[in-house]
Amino acid sequence: MALSAFVLEGGVVYHTYSCYDRGTDVLNGTWQLLDRTPKGRVRAPIEAGTSSGWPRRRDEYAEAGTENG
């Protein structure tokens, strides 16, 4: 995941900013929410025995069924 920012002025495009890796952490609302939970980003999936992959694609949590929406 990476993000780039551009501006268009007077018909000219300028590149103004890019970030990547941990620099994109703050762009992800789920990370920010997990940072405010007791077990944080890492511990819960491992302790729950689901370390085989998190996050997964949204339709690949088939067995988990943890969505409460």
């Binding site: 995941m1 990476a2 780039s4 551009f6 268009l8 620099g23 996050p55």
Partner: protein
């Protein structure tokens, strides 16, 4: 969580107050960095990139879609992949809610991937996403933007000067973009 301390409400309040001061420091620092981010020099993009979009072939300037600011999310989805990378997809799950607010703040947000447009459309349907998503297939955009894994570790601005080998697959998460 065997090492976790259990305390009284009063102890919690003291500790929370101490942490609140640190959180406020972070907020102020974050505001300061946002300002410094806006002071970075602009780098002119002269190269004519072409993107395949739902409305046909567009230039980078046309991706702005009538607005003056453009955010491009580089979603790792290589030409040979059938799905975008799980980490990028996790991020992309957060985008649709922001779109209308960004658009009314003079910001266009698009995602860009190296996969061809038909693969992008199929995966977007599967994920239920609505944000604009363009293909940079056949263009150097992702490489030049240092968003492809083969270019990781490279220094330099994320514009038109940096070139790297095209990766065969976009399906692993860490990306390298310009260091400021």
């Amino acid at each position: 969580m065997a090492d976790q301390r259990v305390g009284t409400r009063d102890e919690w309040l003291v500790a929370r107050e101490r942490l609140l001061q640190r959180e406020k420091e972070l907020t102020r620092l974050s505001d300061e960095l946002a300002h410094q981010r806006q002071q970075l020099p602009w780098v002119r993009v002269d190269k004519e990139y072409r993107f395949e979009t739902d409305e046909g072939t567009h230039t980078l300037a046309e991706l702005f879609d009538g607005r003056s600011q453009l955010l491009v999310y580089h979603l790792m989805f290589g030409p040979d992949d059938e799905a975008a990378c799980p980490g990028c997809s996790f991020y992309a799950d957060h985008l649709d809610g922001s779109l209308v607010h960004l658009n009314h703040h003079d910001v266009t947000l698009v995602c860009a991937s190296r996969a061809p447009l038909d693969k992008i459309r199929a995966y977007r349907r599967r994920m239920g996403w609505r944000f604009p998503w363009v293909s940079s297939f056949g263009s150097d955009f992702n490489v030049d933007s240092r968003s492809s894994p083969m270019t990781r570790g490279g220094p330099g601005p994320a514009t038109t000067s940096a070139r790297g080998a095209e990766p065969s697959s976009g399906s692993h998460p860490p990306l390298r973009m310009a260091r400021s």
